[in-house]
Structure formats: C-alpha cells, structure tokens
Symmetry: C2
Subunit: 275 residues, 2 copies
C-alpha cells in the first residue's frame, strides 16, 4: 500500500485510527480460554468489531512471543485474517527490530514475506545498514522510532548535539534514506509540544502516534500540529480499546470505543478540510 | 549464572568464545534438508562439536523468525538442548528488543521464562523503562547495545554531546541502572581503538564483542584493551565458525575453527595471568 492509497482509506473511513493488538492472554475474557487459540479468537472478534472504524492494525510481537511458537502461530493467523477479510487495512508489525545488514534482511523476510505485514517498526540506533534491508521490499514500509511515548524517551532521545536533539538528528538523517512512500516515524502522543518542530523536519511523512488512551496522550493536541495535507497521522490506541471490557461484551465495547475515537477523528479531518 | 560463575567457566575452558547460531536454512549443508527440523539438526551438531571450546552460544532470533512458527520451535529446541546437555554454557538470545515498560516485560517473560535464555540483547534508544523489566529476573542478564560492529554504527552512536559520544553516554547512564552482575554491553570488534575509552567508563562489566571473523575484527586488538581482571569479554564468531564447511564435515570443521580461536584465547588469558 502506498501513501496515496492509505490516504484514500483515511478519507473513506473518516478515520486515522490504528488499533493496537497487544493481546495479553492474561487480560482477555476468561470465556475465551476454552478456545483452541484464545489469542486469535480474541483478535478475530476485535478485528470484526472495530474494522469499520480503523485504517490500521498493529500487533506488538512481544505479546505473541510470550506464548512461544504458539504465539507466533496466533500472530500469523491474525495477520492472514486481516489480509483475507479486510485487505484495505494497513498492518503494522510492531516489532522494533534492527540488526546488522545481513540479519535485518532476515527480519524483513520474516515480517514482509512470511507474515505479510505492510510495515514494521524499526529501532534507529544501529544506523543505515540496519534499516536499508527493510527498504528493498516494494510497497512495504519502515516505521522508524524517533520520539517514543514512554518516560525513558527522556534518557537519550533529547540528548543535544549542535542544538539538535537526537530524535531530530534521527529524523533528518533517516529521511534521506528513503522516500516518504517507504518510511514513517514513531512519535509519541505524550509529546504534543514537539509535533511542530517534527513537522518542520519531515513535513510530508506519515507519523505513527502511540500513546493516546492508557498512556494519557491527547488526540486534539496531536492533530493540531501533526496533520498534513494527506493527513499524515496514524494514531494508535491499544489497551484503551481492546480491554474496554473483560466480559462477553468485549468486542462490542471495543467497537464503541473505536467508533468514539473515529467520530472525533472525522470531526478533526472535516475541520481541517481533508474530507 | 552470575559474573563469577561465568569467569569460572572461562578459566575451565580457557576460552571466552561465544558461538553465534545464526542458522540460515539457505546456508546449511543440503543433506540436512531431509531432516524433520534441519535448523535444529544443524545446531545440535554444531553445539556438540564446539561445546568443548566455547562458554556461550548466541542464537540470533532473525534467522529463526524467518521460518515463522517453525523457526520459533527450532529456537526453543536449540536452547533447551544446550541447557539440558551443557548447563554450564551461557545462552544469549540475540534479539535486540526494547519497548515501553509493560511490553518489555512481555519480552523478558518470552526470552527468560519461556525460552530459558540467560541473557538478551536490548537496544537502548527507548531508555530506562524499556530496559528495567529485563532486570527483574534473578540471574538473568541484559546485554545493551553500546557501540555496534556494523558500518551504520557511525550514523548515530558517535553523535557528540558535551564532548561525549552517544555510545559513551549510553554506557555511563545505563551502568547506573543495574549492577555488573545483571548488565553487559555490546561493543563491536570492528572498533578496537575505542575499547580503552570504554573500559574507562565500564571497567568491570562484561562486554559482548561481535565482529571477529566475517566482519573483520581482530581478537588480539580487542583483548589488548578489553580484558579486565575477570576476563570481562565474550567474543563472538558466527559465520566464521558455523559455515566453515557446507559439506557433511560441517560440524568437525566448525570444531576445528572454534578450537583455533580457543587456542588463541588460551594464550591471551595465560599471557595476562588470568589462567
């Protein structure tokens, strides 16, 4: 999926919501534990219920790897289910990988070819040759960590060199490695005040924005300085949607929550003249 | 395994060699492809052949994930095989993970509890709360990326702030997060000139040193400035050992290569009065 196709979906759905499938076997409704693959059953129900309101899903690999090979099967089935039933929805493997060149090439193959994800999150620390193998796959995306949503983002990402913070240096340098049809950046919703300076560096890139909901970020504040002429934002909520209820009504409650965010997004997009 | 126990093993084996199990199904001898699990069969033979000369094994998760759930099973079996047959050998999951706190906790559970690794490599970009969940597991280790062996290490790791390079800032700050019985650092053998300044910051920590062999690093140069009073080095070779031959003699050739490096290490340890 390229950038224009993604924007088309945003216009159709009037939404730039990404639902994070951080599916924790210890948190899903207990009645699902009798299923053959409870994690997949949970995801399937969440996907069916939220798909009208979302343009992207983002399974985080940690929650699958915790269940070993069985978890990897749940992840494979989840991505296949989305691609078979909702091929217009963008799938992000939130894996935060990155290694020396020949090894990153293996991760690219694992996530793009084997799992069929459209995009993978990548950590920038190891530099160009840790990122470039992911760019050799047509219509696939690297989503590079720039300014993350967690408190630890303060430890290294704001280190200053020649009056530039590390996250600004990462943005400026990595933006030269690929087009904005191959690369996005992770910018946490918990840093709304930085969106203006980030847009000055990467005006045209999509930003994947985690941190609304459980982490406390604010959608309006993000949209204010983050939107661009092709929307340019995918705003993620995970726990705030998928664990809205731990009862039998979990899927319908998740859909209510997704719809609530989508309504707000629709209003924002319309206000900005994007739809 | 704690630091002293690791040093005991180094003295017994007269070796600080770590063998990287970067097992690529496209590179293993073709006669193994008839086996039920060719990757595990390859690893088992390599482990049996090289175990007298090595104190650590380091499977890199990329090579297993490329084979999907099947690859994850090969990884589980490989670590279990080492732990059941060579419990004295240190197992490093080279996974380069790191995420927000609640997610890193899942990775810690995946790698320490489910897979049974002794250590995991972690990327530092996301800061303290992405690392700390890995420190809550007794006798388990975080091996944090500091100065990596690849060419991309030049992109961000040398960025200078107040006359300190980013890798030096990462070392100094993260060394306050844990004891040297819980944390090691990755320092590439391709940067022998930096070992002296690194030892000035972290004199007592173990360093995991990739990059000899296929990547061109030099063991003597690393040892010269990297050794400390408890050895303090685990030097890794992957491709240089495990792909020494692609014929039926692959395991014996790997053992010859491992023994060659071990002999050199034995000489170095003896020269330095450590054995």
């Amino acid at each position: 999926m390229n950038k224009k196709e993604l924007f088309e979906q945003i216009k159709i759905k009037k939404s730039f919501l990404c639902v994070g499938l951080d599916t924790d076997i210890q948190k899903i409704p207990t009645h699902l534990l009798h299923e053959v693959d409870p994690v997949f059953s949970f995801n399937k129900a969440i996907i069916d219920a939220t798909s009208p309101f979302t343009v992207a899903y983002k399974p985080n690999t940690a929650f699958y790897e915790e269940n070993g090979a069985k978890g990897w099967i749940s992840l494979e089935k989840t991505i296949r289910y989305i691609k078979e039933n909702y091929p217009e929805i963008f799938v992000i493997a939130d894996a935060k990988r990155g290694d020396i060149g020949n090894t990153s090439a293996k991760y690219a193959s694992a996530f793009f070819e084997k799992l069929g994800a459209d995009a993978i999150t990548v950590a920038p620390y190891m530099g160009f040759d840790s990122v470039s193998p992911f760019l050799n796959h047509k219509d696939k995306w690297v989503i590079l960590l720039a300014l993350t949503s967690n408190s630890g983002s303060a430890d290294f990402q704001y280190i200053s060199s020649n009056n530039k913070s590390l996250f600004e240096i990462v943005l400026a340098k990595s933006a030269t490695w690929a087009t904005d049809d191959q690369m996005m950046f992770v910018v946490g919703a918990t840093h709304p005040e930085e969106f203006k300076q980030i847009r000055a560096i990467v005006p045209d890139h999509f930003l994947l924005v985690p941190g609304i909901g459980a982490q406390g970020g604010d959608l309006q504040a993000v949209a204010e300085n983050g939107l661009n002429s092709l929307c340019g934002l995918l705003v993620n909520s995970s726990r705030g949607i998928i664990y809205k209820s731990d009862k039998e009504d979990f899927a319908i409650q998740a859909s209510f929550e997704a719809e609530k965010i989508q309504s707000e997004m629709s209003y924002i997009l319309s206000e900005k003249g994007l739809i």
